[in-house]
Point group: D2
């Protein structure tokens, strides 16, 4: 940690800060500058709280050098993590590009079975669908809940697909984990720490979406909760961030895909449906994410988007997904072999 | 709802949209414009989902006129709600300006008792302190948890104070509600809908903080969950939003205080400690919020901020709180009588 | 335009609004809703100012249907605009993917000649380099100014390259336009309207960068200034927007590339150097933009980035640009033929 | 400056960085940490460019300790600057609270004279009105331009008022400065550096608005341009920033008022009209800014807001300004004497 002093700080201020550092069992190291002095804190074995320093009058600011995460960092685990989904699907590292698809919400047996049947035909092995739905307004459709989970379990058995669904509450996690292959923690719950802790105790892989206004550092620190709890199978998912621009539902922050890959060993996928909120922007952004280095995409598709109970405008029609999936396969192959 | 068409939309497109509207049991009403046509949807008794329209090719955008909340709206409840805390403290409407204060986290018996004793002397009747702490990093102090709640209960009995603490998980809510007077739902949990539903089932008043990147509309829709669950005692708390500016911890959005008061009948308070993140900015912003129309403030104070386990830099020293409290009383009095 | 009334608005309020609409030579059309009434304004030939309505007590909000731009809109000019740079380079529509490259700032004859020589070898025909530099601090290097322009003119003659440079002020525009092929209007000047007007009077093509916090609508309205002034040769350039995320210099908003292409007929290029601010993120994002539909990229390159007087950390080394250029050619070709 | 290395950096990396530092005539100072090493750079007399370091592979990040401004900093000029407007109005330091008011745009002789007459009656000595108007769309009213300036000059002579108006272009600055008392540089031009330089050569006081997405540091660096040019009479004006929240036109960032006062000696005023965009929010926010420490406010007022050619919805009626002005006087007096 670095403690930067105001330009008027006196020798006495410096001494007093040095004493505080020594009391904490650490060592101070002065760094005199042109306009002001800074003091380095050395000897710590991990994160040092800057609280005792930040409020001293002579201190202008404190700067952390150590990051708030460790297990997820590539510094401490240089090799790519490859997460196994179910028994045979893998993501991360040099695994094949992963396509996850499905409707925003499970709306009934017919809808989800038609979708599963269609996806299997496309060679897509992982279906996502929401049973417990986080909705801004309590007056909106809240999902089929337990019954939806039951339907997902039927899909698994009937079609041999892997299924992923969102968990909103720690108390439901155990029940849901019994019936699905992969758990999703949504953007709104990225800092629901009880839920992260519970996910850490699970053996199921977890797709952790980035929060609407979460920094990369906070996102990785949330993943750290799950790894620290004992579950190393985390897949990060960028899904757009909230900015001043309202022409798209969120702002697709594709540049953090290569960035996160340099900071962490975990796989990173992209959700162009929530990131853009517009069906017509999903194909170009899904394809762009391949080139940016994503390990996979998660796409919303619906047999009849115009009747979808949620997120219809960003859901692809079957024929659109079919076309996009073909282009994904071609482009991923080209990138691997020729780029 | 208003459906705006592309300028090239044909008569046939309009007819097809009209049919869809009629199928939903509603009525279409054409609004021809200079450059493009719009279609009003009328006859609805509440929120209409725009999904069936937004993805039609001829539709440029859909515009909602009805809001995603109702019970919290002043349209449907014109008189100010006054929330009673404990047996005798009231907030909202013309109630006296409310000061809530305490440390970010309970760190031990001595710390919390010293704080309570000090606050009582200042005439401050509500103590806030965190037992369950949401922390970005799993490596940071996570709060005293159950033991912290027990200490809060002791404070209540010993000092006759009301206490408020954050609830992070629906499963803890019942236990916590037995021991404290007021529940707080934090910024990171503003859209933890299971928690909101559970708070709706409680009889305890709830302080609902605005999310880091929540719009006013989303915040009010979250309050709607609690009211719809049967609990009308919600106090809204602005605590700063996340923006590009990093010179302060968050950006204090004071203008939404008078705005929310025009949209909703619920009381609104302000948390200058989290909004600014800097002890020196807390007094001017606490005072400014009185003039902006806030019903109260929530302040962080600590017997020894330099030793605080969290948020030390934004915590006031006792002597600073004493001074600020005196100014708050004087200013609130002046505003009431002379402004 | 749509005027939405408060739910308590009376018949009298509606009548009074209708009268105001009629006075303006327009027609009102009532749209009764479940909770509130709206009034459509019809008969306008273009943009109607909502000022006379927005402040009436009974009016909750006004909603514009007509956009603040027209000439740049695809609605009024469905075919892609192809801009000719110099005599033979074209961009927009189905033109080949355009690569513009060069140092952030001209620092001397040797630096700019070495760069031009290198770019010509790579088959890159357009060099960009700043002579007048907008710098946050007056204590930073401000560019070689007139002498830089002179050097650019030498480069043109010596290497037969096209050159592009930023214009910061209307009074310099004429002089600069005499010596360079393409003018750039930077992010900070996107709403420098006198400069836009002057660019409208020029015959030189203009690269118009998106402002740091400009909406797509504002950006297109700025382009409208130039077209309205008589210059149809505008190339839009996305260069990242300012958000809460500081892990990258700006947030690359790639999704607006396909979005802008659907709204406007103008070419759109991408600047990954400013968008990311990090040399290691430039190649993946440059390549991703091809797939997202960009018509070209603008890249920073420097013979010795570690000695660059500005933006060194985001400048590519020659060998990196060479490698990236090869990948761009391969990917652009693949996208055109096989995707 | 502090250079932070990756945890895997070797002794050789450190040596190579040290050499670069020495070459620049500065001194390296190693700061070994628990997880990584940092190197302090000492001996500089001012701002050091981090470019030569940021792109070295072993460097994780560089951290500036020195600020990009100096003349505007309180570090180097501890006493408050008091700016004299015209001959007798002063702002800054302990000067009386300043009220500037007027219409967004000059629309004609009658409008501006009626406004001036009204303001004089209220004891308001400074009138602001726009002659050159920056408008998003070229299809909107662009201001009366030169004729507007002439009308302002008439107002000065007729009513003995001081007048302030926006300058959009360096070439108009000289002409405008001959006819008005105070120049305004608007939010969109905060980084129009040629304009800042020209303002630095003027003898007129300058009101410098904060840019829509400008950090406090950038804003102060823009003021530095003017001071460095030789004009010390700068008044900073907060006018709201652009964030994700659209319920208000901008987000009022009041907390930066006390913050800027701690960083700089320059006066700071607040513009609640642009910050909120809503007439009903102007009074509470204008009053709140007094308590937050602003030296003054700038208010939009119009004889007939419903007919205003721009910004009508945020303009006060005469009777509203009269009422607000009375409250401002009372509150400013109370704050000075009793708070």
């Amino acid at each position: 940690m670095l403690i930067v002093l105001h330009h008027w700080a006196t020798e006495k201020d410096v001494e007093s800060i040095n004493k505080t550092i020594l009391k904490l069992g650490l060592k101070p190291m002065a760094i005199p500058g042109a306009e002001r002095t800074a003091i380095g804190v050395i000897g710590n074995q991990g994160w040092v709280d800057d609280a005792p320093f930040r409020l001293l009058k002579a201190v202008m600011e404190t700067i952390h050098v150590t990051k708030p995460y460790k297990l997820v960092s590539r510094d401490f685990h240089p090799a790519d993590t490859v997460v196994t989904l179910g028994k045979k699907v893998r993501t991360g590292g040099r695994s094949p590009f992963l396509v996850i698809a499905g409707p925003c919400a499970i709306e009934g047996r017919d809808q989800i079975f038609r979708t599963a049947e269609f996806l299997v035909k496309q060679g897509i092995q992982v279906l996502r669908a929401g049973a417990f739905k986080p909705r801004t307004s309590p007056h909106s459709f809240q999902g089929m809940r337990e019954e939806g989970i039951r339907l997902l379990d039927e899909v698994r058995k009937e079609f041999g697909m892997l299924v992923v669904t969102e968990v909103m509450s720690p108390e439901h996690l155990g029940m849901i984990a019994e019936h699905v292959d992969i758990l999703q923690i949504g953007a709104r719950n990225m800092q629901n720490f009880d839920l992260l802790n519970e996910a850490g105790r699970s053996k199921r892989p977890v797709i952790l979406k980035r929060g609407l206004s979460a920094t990369v550092e906070e996102w990785l620190a949330s993943a750290e909760y799950i790894l620290l709890g004992g579950n190393p199978n985390v897949v990060l998912c960028e899904r757009g961030i909230r900015t001043f621009e309202t022409a798209t539902r969120n702002t697709s922050d594709l540049a953090i895909i290569p960035l996160v890959k340099s900071l962490s060993h975990l796989p990173v996928i992209f959700d162009p449906s929530h990131a853009t909120g517009r069906r017509d922007l999903v194909p170009p952004m899904a394809l762009a994410s391949i080139v940016a280095g994503a390990h996979g995409v998660m796409l919303e598709v619906h047999p009849e988007p115009e009747r979808a109970l949620s997120d219809g405008p960003q859901s692809l029609h079957f024929r659109e997904l079919e076309k996009l999936n073909g282009r994904i396969i071609k482009l991923a192959d080209f990138v691997k072999k020729s780029l």
